[in-house]
């Protein structure tokens, strides 16, 4: 039964006032939503079920809408390559000749780098697996800069994973659903990325502001940056791995240092999502989760490291300086002995700085520095 034919049909309500009340109620709801939003925390919990559902629905719709544009782009590329084959061939030959020199240099440097690493016993980062995805939607406004990529939790993508295209860093994943993930771009106002200037190693925080060129904030050091300096990720904080290319430094019209993103130089169709899991992937998780702790061993098996030392019997041991004879240092890997090493009493073999304490010249009774 229509409302107007019912018992309340003759009820006259001042519509202007009720409309005003409705407006106020709607505004209060909007304020509550805004206050409850935790988007800027970039945490997994902040990306609610509603957003995930909308992403899952938007993926096929946006994918279908984006398809004609993608096909048109491919067609234009085909036509362009047909008409400009000769000039492109010349350009590629020149580039190839130049790149051959770089290849030889890169191979030599790689070999040198490997030798240094083995000499120093460095533990290098493990290779990071990645997942390729296609961008189906792209928001570019001043208040939100995100993209929707068509790969999600089924590919092992997690919140926080860095996203790159073939030129450089694009952003990071802030929401994951099945089959789709939301990427927060470096240009978004909520984006903060630890970076460094490649030339000087000066650290900074790349801060998005909704414009095409994010700002470099908290730059440290004296004269740390110049126009055109290459900016890469610093890896500080473990959010993104170190050394990912970000962009080139430029001085903005407002006098601030900004970054022209490398990622903007190429198409935005496809991205690579690095399945980087913080610093946790550098360690053996099984070993870290072991319930039994390794035994605590001390030099003297009879005494605990927690026991209070008796100062009268064990005077301060000398620091392992140049005065320590080679025999004493050579005995360090051996198990501790109970008898004092009388035969290895130190002798002043070289000029040394004045020792304020006479005890410093006396060897420790245990024979090894504690």
């Amino acid at each position: 039964m229509p409302f107007r034919e019912g018992p309340l049909g003759d009820l006259k309500v001042p519509l202007t006032w009720t409309a005003a009340v409705a407006l106020i109620v709607a505004a209060v709801i909007a304020v509550a939503f805004l206050l409850a939003d935790r988007r800027e925390t970039l945490q997994d919990q902040a990306y609610g079920v509603t957003r995930q559902t909308v992403d899952v629905v938007a993926k096929p719709v946006s994918g279908a809408i984006a398809a004609p544009g993608r096909w048109t782009g491919l067609g234009l590329d085909y036509v362009r390559s047909y008409f400009f084959t000769a000039s492109e061939n010349r350009r590629l030959k020149t580039e190839l000749a130049e790149m051959r020199q770089w290849r030889d240099r890169a191979l030599a440097l790689q070999d040198q780098n490997e030798r240094y690493k083995s000499l120093m016993g460095l533990r290098t980062d493990p290779p990071i697996p990645m997942a390729a995805a296609r961008v189906v939607s792209d928001s570019r406004g001043p208040f939100a800069n995100t993209r929707l990529a068509d790969a999600g939790s089924e590919r092992g993508i997690q919140v926080g994973n860095p996203v790159l295209n073939e030129r450089g860093l694009v952003g990071r994943v802030v929401g994951v659903s099945r089959g789709v993930s939301r990427v927060l771009l470096l240009t978004d106002i909520a984006s903060r990325t630890p970076v460094m200037i490649d030339r000087t190693n000066a650290r900074a925080i790349l801060t998005g502001d909704g414009g095409p060129n994010p700002k470099l904030e908290y730059l440290r050091g004296v004269d740390p940056i110049q126009q055109g300096d290459r900016v890469v990720t610093s890896g500080d904080g473990g959010v993104v791995p170190r050394g990912l290319p970000v962009g080139a430094a430029v001085k903005g019209l407002d006098g601030r240092w900004r970054v022209v993103l490398f990622a903007d130089q190429s198409s935005i169709d496809y991205v690579r999502i690095l399945l980087f899991k913080d610093f946790a992937q550098l360690a053996d998780e099984k070993e870290l989760q072991a319930k039994t702790l390794p035994p605590v061993t001390t030099e003297d098996q009879q005494t605990s490291i927690l026991s209070i030392p008796t100062p009268a019997l064990t005077p301060a041991a000398p620091a392992p300086t140049a005065t320590t004879p080679p025999a004493a240092t050579g005995a360090q890997p051996k198990p501790p002995v109970a008898k004092p090493p009388v035969a290895t009493a130190p002798k002043p073999v070289a000029p040394k700085p004045a020792q304020p304490k006479p005890a410093a010249a006396t060897p420790a009774p245990t024979g090894a520095p504690r």
Binding site: L15, A19, A30, S62, G73, S137, S139, P142
Partner: protein
Amino acid sequence: MSMSGGRALNPGRWLGVPMLLCMLATVLFAAPIRIWGLQLPEPVFAMVPAFAWAMIRPSILAPFAILILGLFLDIFWGGPTGLWGLSLLVAYAMVLILRNAMTGQSRPMMWAWFAGVTGIAMAAAFLFTMLDSLAMPSLLAVFWQFLVTALLFPFAHRLVDRFEDADVRFR
């Protein structure tokens, strides 16, 4: 199409259809298309109904429809939830207050009013973003979005024209 004067407006026609069209246009313009290095603009299509609905008549349903539109924009664009809902409601309230002053003016003057209200909505979004993210958005990026949104006035004019005389009680 003219409608009879005394008949109440069908909410599905003057609220539902424009709302769906706005959502569709927003999804369309979010396509990742780049031609000669240039991307598509990103106007706030929801400004069209926010302006037109307040011009047509005061309504109980319209603020909630605007809220839904704003929430859709926030979630689809990945921005803070409630940002565009609140900003559009500020614009809607402004038009509702100034409705008597705007009615019956020439088309260029109405375009100026639309641009002004769009500016208010963008300023509100700018302020709310500053409070929410504790950072200042790029003024140039805000200006570009304002510019492309202000160009949408013909759609708002068409919507007002179509339903303005539908309910003579609010003329």
